[in-house]
Structures are given as C-alpha cells and as structure tokens.
Symmetry: C2
Subunit: 318 residues, 2 copies
C-alpha cells in the first residue's frame, strides 16, 4: 500500500496542500493563491507544479495513494463543485476528474466542513467514534455528520447543512442562504458581530465596544472585550452559546451523537462560549439524552486541520 | 436459508405477531392481549404458544430465520426495553435475550417507528431508497431515519426522536417528554385535537366542532368536519401541515433524504394535510434542496404494517 496521501484545501483566498502519512503527520505543506488564475486549468497546472515539487523534495513520487480535496459546495458523489461564490471558475466544475487526470492519482472531494469531520475522525478528537457531529464556527456555521462510522452525504451529496436549521421562526435575521432565522445568522463569527451591533443599538448599558466604529466590530473584538471583563460582551457570548445549545439539543434527537465537536475561530473562545452552550444544551435536552452528549473542541492543529481533513479523504479515493 | 421470519409488534393493548416470507407476504397472523399478564414471563409463554401454533399450522417449524420485535423504547444495540409507560413489566427488560432463549431463534428488537421504517424500506414505499425518513403520525410523532441504507440508531440506540425537535421556542405547548414546544405537541393526532380546542377557545367563528364536547374532540372529528367543508377544521389541518413542513425543511439540511414518508392515522388525511405540508416545506426549504425531497404516504397495509416492519428486522437478527 502506498504510504502517503495529499490533502488540498481550496479556500477563497489561499489553497493549502500537503503530503500526509498514515499517522496524520503532515510531512510537508505549501500553498498557492486561489484567485491568481481566472482560469481553473491554470490553477490546476500551478497546483500540480506545487504538489509535484513537494513530492520530489520528500521522496513521495509514486507513493501517494490518493488526493483529497476540501472545497466549498463540493459534491462527494459527483466529484463536482456545484457553485462558487467568490471564485470565478465555471460551475458545475468536474474538479475531481480534472485533478485526477492531471495527476494520474485517484481524487475525492467534499466540502470543507465534511473534510474537517473526516480529519477529526481519522486523526483528532473523534478517533474511535462512530457517531458524532462536527460544527465549524467560522465566517459561517458549517457541519459534518458521521453516523455508523460513515460521513452523511445524503441523497444528493449535500447533507449536513446544520448552519441552516431555523432557530428563530419569527422576525429572524436574514441569512446568506436567502431565508431568515438560520443558526448561521446568529452563531457564526459574523453572527456574533451582528449580535454585538444589535445589543449596542438596542441597549444603553456601557461597554468598551462602544468605543469602536459599530460597523467594523468583529467577533474578535467581542472576545477581547469579554476577556477584559466587559459585561455586555460576555452577554453576547451567552446569547450565542444559548442558541447553539438549543440547536445541539435538536441535533441530538436526530442522530444521538456521542459528541459534538467544535472547530474554527469561535471554538477557541473557551468557557465564555462553552459554559453557556453546555448549560443551554442540557437545559433544552430531551430527558432521555441528558448528560450523554459530549461537547469537545477539535484536536487538530489549526494550521494543519484543513489539509489533514482533506487528506484523510484521499485514503478512500478510487 | 430459512424462508420465513416472525414479526411481533408489542403495543399498549395488543401484541400482534405474524409469519412473513421473503417477499413480504404475511402468511398468517394472530394477536394476544399485552396486559393480560402482569408477569413478563407469562407474557412470553403465551407469545411462544401463539407463535408456535401459527408455525405448526403453516408448516413453518424450523423454517424461521429470526424474530423481529417492535416495542416502545426498545434498544436495538442492547436488546433491552429501557422504559415502559403503560405496561407493568420491570425495566430495563432484556426482552431480546428472553424471547431468544424461549424460542431458540435469533431475536432483534427496535422501537415501533424504526420497525416501520425498516418495513417500508424492505417492502414498502422506500424500496431501493438509501436515504429517507419515516414519520409516524399517531398518538405521538415517531420517526425512523435511514442513511446510507442503514437505520440510524445513534451512539446509545435511541436516535430518531424527531417528534421532539422544538418548533415553538416561546410559549410552546407542554409535551409528554416534559419540555415545551415539541413537534409532537402540535402534529400528532393528540396535537391536532389540542389545536382544535385552542382554535375553538380563542376564536369566535362558527364551526360544526362547536357542537361537540370540547374536551372529547379527536383528530378524527376534525378530519370529518374538514371533509364536510368546515372552514375552521380545514385551518386546523393547514396549521398542522405548516408546522410539519417547517420541521421537514430542518430535517432536510441534516440528512438530505430522498423522501419523507408518512405513516399512521393522520397520514391518511389526504390533501387536507399534504397540501399545506408540501407548500410549507418548499417555502421553508433551504434553496439548494428546493424541489428535491418527496413527501410520500406509506405503502404498507395498515393492518399488516406493524408486523411487517418488525419482521423485516428478523432477517438481520443474529
């Protein structure tokens, strides 16, 4: 059996790639600018060049079992990217086939949140778990669901959009998906910033956040203020954790996971987020599931996580 | 390979059992009173007697591959009934082991909604489907979820309690599970009757339902009134369908099923329920899933469904 896989994470700005061994060590990694090329063919050429160079430098030529790619709206079943928002390549894009033809190596693709879940199951906090849910708290709220040890892709390959369950059925915030009240509109980094603006507008109590230009407040600003003891900033985290906990209780009646694992920037907020989240989850939990579901933080190193997650998919590429 | 399985459905009143062949034909069936015996040992003795008699009459002795049992709160993993509400047997009850020892035949158990889903996948509307959700609209709202062709039991064996997602986060109705706002409190047969009482109390428009003693109104009364053209009764179905549609849109972002299949008394309400349900589901659906998810009615004959569903589990009993 070939000893390596290659993981590729295609982001809106950078595309990171690396060679990974069976134990999850990133042997070598590098990156290119995703948007340097308007033409996807040129992008694949540069990716090929970069990965080939890495393979040559690390004696990995001919030793790569598969390439796994994490990309927005990527469909595991079809190998296609169905839609791109900030990248000007034509869609649907048969990316798996194109990359596979270029490299002569099997390629599997999935969306970034699913890749993170596969990485966590293969190398991280979910090792040995057959039933868990990965929630990525970044610009949006993404998710990857594992049931019976398998990724849940659903009938069309797009299952696991848990950022888009409706948490507020009345007067909910507009979401990027076009509907209102989605989890993502409240509990992403962007959602936290929106909550900050909402709280600052509708309340009158003092906060260091009032010293910042209101339209430019980020979740990082809220975090810093909360760490510094700012009461309003802490309440923003309580509000966020409370909604996440309500959502997690609903997720539990669906798949009864052993754990829900948090990943992404907001997941590093520590007890500011985790304490209200866990309290709300248990308070809202159906009695038969109370005390059963762990909330864990990803154990993958942030810098490696995207590549590791995608690479794990490389082992099952055919 | 042995040509038959036995299905047993343990209900609060009757326990129905039957011999089923590989094509899903119920060769013979019978029933006993579940509550005739306070002692579960006596119950199993009578069940053994009844099933043995059926086997003898139908030349099936020695030809039964397995026994599948559907029972409330039955855990597929452990073979235990964890809790019983209206049946006075001690819990946790190792039913699978007890029945298996009595018969000398492998036994598998699961809850009734999961049994219905397995039956539908093996013999009914979900034949050939790898990803679907079965929703049973009876006294409560039960569910059985199939993903990648497998029943979803979750980490603890109790996954698929979709009747207990929260649909009303503020001022929701009290649910049997002890929380408020659950889907079941609105969209079960009982929920429909509660909606009727609520509408009759808070509104003043005329309805034939006002001729009935308000505490005794059933979902059947509401159905009959709606079929007869009663406007308020029709609106009760619209209200019910609307909430089911909202819930189904949320279920879709989780597992992206090919179909959601309705079973149970209310599922026979036809377009009174289905039309508002489908409209609401599509209206609330995340754009990427619009128009993709079928809403179907169970194809299992009501009288046979419970036994068929449980029997299908018999094929995988070990």
């Amino acid at each position: 059996m070939k000893p390596y896989v290659v993981g590729v994470d295609i982001g809106g700005t950078n595309t990171v790639f690396g060679i990974v061994d069976a134990r999850g060590a990133v042997i070598a990694s590098s990156s290119i600018k995703t948007l340097k090329h308007n033409n996807v063919g040129d992008f694949i050429d540069e990716l090929h060049q970069g990965i080939t160079q890495l393979m040559e430098q690390n004696d990995a030529v001919g030793k790569v079992a598969g390439i796994g790619i994490g990309a927005p709206n990527a469909n595991y079943y079809t190998g296609m990217i169905e839609k791109l928002v900030n990248i000007p390549w034509p869609t649907p894009l048969p990316l798996a086939r194109m990359v596979s033809e270029k490299f002569g190596i099997p390629v599997a693709i999935t969306n970034d949140a699913n890749a993170a879940a596969i990485g966590e199951m293969t190398y991280g906090a979910a090792r040995g778990m057959k039933n868990f849910i990965m929630i990525t708290l970044g610009t949006g709220v993404g998710s990857g669901i594992v049931i019976n040890g398998q990724m849940v892709y659903g009938h069309d390959g797009f299952a696991g959009e848990l950022g888009h369950v409706i948490m507020k059925r009345n007067n909910g915030r507009l979401c990027g998906c076009g509907r209102t009240g989605c989890l993502e509109a409240y509990c992403s980094a962007t959602g936290v910033a929106r909550t900050a603006r909402e709280f600052l507008e509708t309340r009158t109590d003092p906060s260091v956040l009032r010293d910042l230009p209101v339209e430019q407040i980020t979740s990082k600003d809220v975090y810093d203020a909360a760490v510094g003891g700012d009461k309003l900033a802490k309440e923003i985290f309580e509000y966020t954790g409370n909604i996440l906990g309500e959502a997690f209780a609903d997720f539990t009646v669906f798949s009864s996971p052993e754990a829900i694992i948090l990943f992404g920037g907001l997941a590093k907020s520590g007890d500011l987020l985790l304490k209200p989240l866990k309290e709300s989850m248990e308070k809202n939990m159906m009695p038969m599931f109370k005390g059963k579901v762990k909330v864990l933080i990803s154990e993958l190193k942030e810098a490696d996580a995207a590549v590791l997650g995608a690479s794990a998919l490389g082992w099952e590429a055919k």
